[in-house]
């Protein structure tokens, strides 16, 4: 086994911020994961009952449905100044609050991250399809003669990094990642590399997405969404009867720091990011490689980067979104990496509870893995009734287990075949 790198080069998680379908703070999210409570709500896009999409994983206690930021509401604990609000996309409000929450949890004030060349911000979202549509509609109606000056920064991919980088005065590095459902996993992986390379000492990682019609409904046109109205039948990763995913939105932020910096200031260390790996399928712009070949390689690379073998992994948080093709590919990849090596980690997909929040998935599930390590539980596959035969050999607990894992693996896969996996380790001083 390799010697551990010096503390200055070990990335650790010191703060988490959650604005998710299963809760808007750490305690609520942990309780929902332990108790198996989903956050899926009925939806009727366009007020059209003919649509097959009946459920979405929604954020509660926020209203960002208007195309005018003047109408938006959010929980009173967060203060969003007008100068910042004007440039935000709707999901930017989720992200702002998630970052504020994560900083508070990490014991950091805004002044602790501002104007420092060793602090970075890496973000991921698909941008705001709604705002883009609305702004271009205004431009079209005026035949190009008028347009909202905030139109670009409040809508395109990158809106998170533009706005949050400015608001929080980030000087070290600000960057966005665009690999669909692997985006925020890429953000986390590269954030850790910045610390491991000694280029940055602290990085705020953010994944966010909207759950409105413009972001979610186009997936129905791809026949990727479940048409079920019953949550347990709609979002059931690995189940033999799975029939598509349930879209979701929100934001999650992670504060990643060099371990020595966290220790110097007495910060809570929730987990270590021990390694990560990535690969690509090179197969289809939208569908996974049928045998999960790319995900298999990404998992193997992550394990090698962390210096661990399959038998040491206690739990895998699968990407599995409840689609027939995707879940099958992942099951095969997991069998190839673990079962064939005689290893039987617990495996679950928490998307049964949350739905699939697209760009936000990687960061959210890395945060769930962090909670599992810090609080000592393994999330179950809550809506799993009859596992697909392709899962033979995989240990898929139905309920959350009061078992404290030491090493966990987090998987994400996105359009174009991007696969990104992180290994997280329980932090023991």
């Amino acid at each position: 086994m390799n010697a551990a790198p010096p503390a200055a080069r070990r990335p650790v998680v010191t703060g988490l911020g959650f604005i998710t379908p299963i809760g808007n703070d750490r305690a609520s999210v942990a309780a929902a994961l332990r108790e198996g409570r989903h956050g899926l709500a009925p939806v009727e896009f366009f007020a059209n009952p003919a649509l097959p999409v009946k459920l979405v994983g929604t954020v509660k206690d926020f209203d960002v449905s208007s195309t005018s930021c003047r109408d938006w509401t959010w929980p009173a604990r967060y203060d969003i100044p007008r100068e910042t609000l004007r440039g935000l996309a709707p999901h930017g409000v989720f992200a702002f609050c998630a970052v504020e929450q994560a900083l508070a949890e990490a014991g950091l004030a805004a002044s602790d991250v501002a104007n420092l060349p060793d602090t970075g911000l890496f973000c991921a979202s698909a941008g705001s399809a709604r705002q883009l549509h609305f702004n271009l509609g205004q431009m079209d109606a005026a035949r190009g003669e008028r347009g909202n000056p905030m139109g670009v920064v409040s809508s395109i991919c990158g809106t998170l990094n533009f706005n949050l980088g400015a608001h929080f005065h980030i000087n070290g590095a600000v960057c966005g990642f665009v690999s669909a459902c692997a985006s925020s996993s890429h953000a986390l992986g590269y954030a850790c590399d910045e610390i491991r390379l000694g280029r940055l000492r602290r990085v705020i990682v953010v994944g966010a997405e909207e759950h409105n019609a413009e972001t979610i409904l186009p997936f129905a046109a791809m026949r990727a969404l479940s048409a079920q109205s019953e949550p347990a039948l709609a979002s059931c990763p690995f189940d033999a009867a799975r029939n598509g995913f349930v879209g979701a939105g929100g934001a999650v932020a992670l504060i990643i720091e060099a371990a020595d910096l966290a220790q110097e200031r007495g910060a809570p260390i929730l987990a270590e990011v021990a390694g990560w790996g990535q690969s690509a399928d090179g197969h289809s712009m939208a569908m996974s490689h049928p045998e999960g070949a790319g995900l298999r390689l990404a998992m193997q690379r992550a394990l090698a980067d962390a210096g661990v073998v399959p038998a040491e992994i206690d739990y895998v948080n699968a990407h599995a979104t409840s689609t027939p093709v995707g879940d099958r590919a992942e099951a095969l990849a997991l069998r190839a990496v673990f079962t064939e090596a005689g290893a039987h980690p617990r495996v679950s997909s928490t998307k049964g509870l949350t739905g699939h929040p697209l760009s936000m998935a990687g960061a959210m599930e890395a945060a769930f893995c962090t909670l599992a390590l810090a609080e000592g539980f393994i999330p179950g596959n809550v809506h799993l009734r009859t596992p697909d035969q392709v899962c033979e050999g995989l240990d898929l607990p139905r309920e959350t287990l009061p078992v404290a894992p030491s090493l966990v693996l987090n998987n994400s896969s996105g359009f174009g075949g991007s696969n990104v996996c992180h290994v997280l380790r329980r932090w023991a001083e």
Binding site: D79, I80, P81, R82, E83, R86, Q138, A142, E145, R146, G147, N148, P149, M150
Partner: protein, 74 residues
């Protein structure tokens, strides 16, 4: 430069207040305000016109003038 405007002021704006120096507008905020008027009144305001507007009074006079030009009977 005034601090952030999380809590909007309640006193009315005075005509002589300068958008940038007194009210803390940056160039984007000026553009936003202009767009607000453009969208509300369905007028087009050129960049060259905006450069000449420094105070609250000048902005209001400009918009009133444009409206009169577009709706001479009003």
């Amino acid at each position: 430069m005034p601090r952030n405007s999380a809590h909007p002021r309640v006193e009315p704006l005075r005509d002589d207040e300068r958008l940038i120096e007194d009210l803390g507008f940056d160039s984007l905020a000026v553009a936003e305000t202009v767009f607000f008027f453009e969208d509300l009144f369905k007028v087009t305001i050129k960049n060259a016109d905006i450069l000449a507007l420094h105070t609250v009074g000048e902005l209001c006079d400009f918009v009133a003038r444009r409206l009169r030009e577009q709706r001479p009977s009003a």
